[in-house]
Symmetry: C2
Amino acid sequence: MLIVKKFGGTSVGNTTRIKNVAERIAKEYRAGNDVIVVLSAMDQTTDELLALAKELNEQPPRREMDALLATGEQTSVALMAMALSAMSIPAISLNAFQVAMHSTATHMNARLLKIDTDRLKHELESKKVVLVTGFQGLDKYGDVTTIGRGGSDTTAVAIAAAMHADSCEIYTDVDGVYTADPRIVPKAQKETEITYDEMLELASIGAQVLHNRSVELAKKYGVTLVVRSSLNESEGTRVKEVTSVESMLVSGVAADKNAARITVVGVPDVPGSEFKIFDLLANNSINVDAILQTAAKEGKKDVSILVAREFVEKAVHVLEENMPRLKGSCVETDTSVAKVSIVGASIQSNPGVASAMFEALYNVGINIKMTATNELRITVLVDENEMEKAVRAIHAALIE
Amino acid sequence: MLIVKKFGGTSVGNTTRIKNVAERIAKEYRAGNDVIVVLSAMDQTTDELLALAKELNEQPPRREMDALLATGEQTSVALMAMALSAMSIPAISLNAFQVAMHSTATHMNARLLKIDTDRLKHELESKKVVLVTGFQGLDKYGDVTTIGRGGSDTTAVAIAAAMHADSCEIYTDVDGVYTADPRIVPKAQKETEITYDEMLELASIGAQVLHNRSVELAKKYGVTLVVRSSLNESEGTRVKEVTSVESMLVSGVAADKNAARITVVGVPDVPGSEFKIFDLLANNSINVDAILQTAAKEGKKDVSILVAREFVEKAVHVLEENMPRLKGSCVETDTSVAKVSIVGASIQSNPGVASAMFEALYNVGINIKMTATNELRITVLVDENEMEKAVRAIHAALIE
């Protein structure tokens, strides 16, 4: 079996942890498996490098930021090779150049294009554990790129796809994907299996276990992902195209406080009003989570949009500046809101799920400020102070 | 003009110093010159990385040590590019891969073989300051190598040679090569010019201003070296094949406490006795600085050798083990000695120099324990407590 394992910055944050991870890798290797390991930078390293860069240049050239940050993962893989070697496990570290991991030339946000497999195969054939730098690529000019924060997950999946690995294990500080955040819902259950689409929906609404792009890539190439803990031997959650266990109607309840509602009050009730707003925000690179309009009254209506909080200021500015064209009366914002969502492959075909969710919230007296749905998910907007209460009520009614 | 500049770890030890070096580079660039800069790792970085490695593995694989240590210079060059960019000086960092700096595959002690000049030329043509990682190479397997401690000097010279640079400036914490250590001899004078051979002799006897291999390489390719201070604008010392100023008879007095005398007492006064000792030590990788025999008495003589102190234990062990074959009576050691040498291109053709040196020592009552000479240098062995007094006496008599 060929197993790709990815360990994040916390798992390799000091030499004790590096040794623990090495033990884990050694166990897999001694069981007779081929092992490729993708590592992130030691957790404080990236921040230290960023601080140095900032002291020298408030806006450092992106190419040089990539050259600088890439040293973090190179340090991790070399140190891990030493730790394995001390346990008599043959190991070799490879950086993006050496693999090579070809990427686009968009520094600090490159996309992996193609992974050469010759050297990886050669090293595996000589029975070495292969340690690869996560997060980085090599562009057509021979320069180092990085693929954005959390990108090591993507590196691991891309390698698993290129090498036709049997599985790609992502090690985190939780031991799998849960039906809700266990800190909020003590009765939350660990999922044994979950589909790529469910995982993507959960990730997009705040259950940040896996990097989104890595799940999309795993889906595209049919790579089985396993989310598991670096702290214990628990089985973890398998993320795949079709789950073999009987699918739960609702696979999870997720919550996210990074939400704000912006309302453009009193726009004309004519076709195109919503489109104008949506188009305006899109042209200004503001991601809109959901858009909703009230029933028209006297030829006027209110249009509400849902955005992440970091976009509020910019969105309000853009909307107010364009008010003459939008023909609205004013812009109102509400930043003390939270999104609570249920995710499940069968939600679309079970209209009863939505009403059960609303009833659960009604029973505990929580007011729904806005609702948005897609095939796999129903999201409600509630007051942020009521977020945890909402998650518990929905989890109790639909999952427990 | 194309100038190659090399700054060591102390010069880039923190962001303030990096900015100072950047100012210096900017000045050269603004004067209309093409500039290639070779940097070492920030001075504490290498030690930090070595400490991490040692925590994981007492004897880390050499390939991985190189992969680890190479991140140090990569950090320096990326940070310097940011500092220059903040001053609106276009700059680009290149590591050994990107240049490429081809080397042998002897990890931790590789030799540079060939430097590709295409990318360097291309970046200079686009009017960028090119920042290159010192100390490292790329072997035929595509792996990172390092070329030994102090190797950044060699990197700079190799690049200057490959690019036919007009000069190669090595920045240090002293502002040039002096006729003696100014801490010992306050009247020591800075040399304006010195030949490669004189520099090599000075370096080999303890005036550690330049890495030996870098001087040999500069000599081989006729690269003019300039040793100058990173702290002031002083002109420094030029190291070249032929000096244009009238050559001083004695270009410098150097001293080195890292010396020990080992004497094999009572070996037979027959041909081959000295050769046997020399051969034995060479086969055990012990470098012998000098070998000397006393006049024979009753068919027996004493043979003394001069070695660096770290070799004493091993040398004594090897000699005692082979005493039956050497037919000597015992081995004596003296580790409280120091070497004091004068260096100069004209020493060989001026026998008066040696006697003037001996006279100077006699006049201050210093006993000479041993003498060794070559074309460019006369070395005497004195008691280590008398080393500084000897240097001052010789400097006063022959240079001042």
